[in-house]
């Protein structure tokens, strides 16, 4: 296995940490989208609030899925 000299840590462990960090930040972004959609539908309701909220939640759950998949397979 490839290791970083001096510190003796696997390159792939560092890569995994970076990917997980990026996905964690993305999760926060997905949560912000849910909040944003809530704010928008509260302001202007055009009769399409439920599908828009559903997409926002679907996107968030998909992000959570990828995060846990990354923990498992990386």
């Amino acid at each position: 296995m490839e290791t970083i000299p001096l510190i003796g840590v696997s390159v792939w462990l560092v890569a995994k940490t970076c990917v997980l960090l990026a996905l964690a930040i993305y999760l926060v972004f997905a949560l912000v989208i849910i909040r944003q959609v809530g704010l928008m539908t509260d302001t202007v309701d055009v009769g399409f609030a439920a599908p828009v909220k559903l997409i926002a939640w679907g996107h968030f759950l998909f992000s959570v899925g990828i995060f846990f998949l990354a923990i498992l397979i990386l």
Partner: protein
């Protein structure tokens, strides 16, 4: 005895009634809760309508309950074409990895996660652009003009001005696409705190300007009535 000749029955065809073009004043005259005739030109029950004259399905939180919503506008749907095409192109980028194996130095499990992240990012991009189009809108009531802008993820800006503060309405159209699809910008110069309200790339800009002028005229008449009393 059988008939020798039977004339063909004339099929009664329902003539399509042309959309009714009533002015704002005519509709508002019908009382506190205006009666909206069926087939009113510009009136729609669709949530995706970019131009909705006397919308019934729209609820706006900042509106005063006594106000009557006259117009709901957002950017013309054709303005979404750019990001829709870009999204479609970006969706096919991972399939190019077969021809340009730039991720081959990574193990398969890393490649899988990166491709999944790519698709999630595209979904987020497309969704953000859709939200931007869907919720950035202009609302005209019989008393006020509102411009609702969601400039970034959690920032909301609602500019408003009273109809009687409107000083000038400018319509800007130009270019092949805008002329073909009949959309353009409407600039409202006001004497209020917000010096200018802009409705960008809205359908039927001339009609928007006409509606604003009619509402301004109505306000003037009401003011005159009040001062004469």
């Amino acid at each position: 005895m059988p008939d020798v000749f039977v004339a063909e029955e004339k099929k009664e065809t329902k003539e399509k009634t042309p959309p009714k073009t009533l002015s704002v004043l005519e509709i508002l005259r019908s009382g506190k809760k205006p009666l909206i005739p069926s087939g009113l030109d510009g009136h729609s029950q669709s949530a995706f309508a970019s131009f909705n004259f006397f919308p019934e399905i729209v609820k706006f939180a900042a509106k005063d309950p006594s106000e009557r919503m006259v117009l709901f506008i957002r950017k013309h749907p054709i303005t979404n074409l750019g990001w829709i095409l870009l999204t479609i192109v970006l969706l096919f980028v991972p399939s190019l990895l077969d021809f340009f194996p730039i991720l081959n130095f990574l193990p398969d499990r890393f490649q899988l996660i990166i491709v999944a992240m790519w698709y999630t990012g595209i979904v987020a991009y497309a969704f953000e652009r859709f939200l931007d189009w869907f919720f950035n809108c202009g609302i005209v009531t019989d008393e006020t003009v509102y411009d609702v802008d969601f400039t970034n993820l959690i920032y909301r800006e609602i500019s408003e001005t009273d109809i009687d503060h409107i000083q000038d309405v400018t319509v800007r159209m130009g270019g092949v696409v805008r002329t073909m699809f009949n959309y353009g910008d409407v600039f409202i110069q006001t004497a209020g705190e917000v010096p200018r309200i802009e409705f960008e790339a809205v359908p039927h800009p001339d009609r928007v300007a006409k509606i604003l002028r009619e509402l301004g005229f109505r306000e003037e008449q009401e003011e005159k009535k009040q001062t004469s009393l």
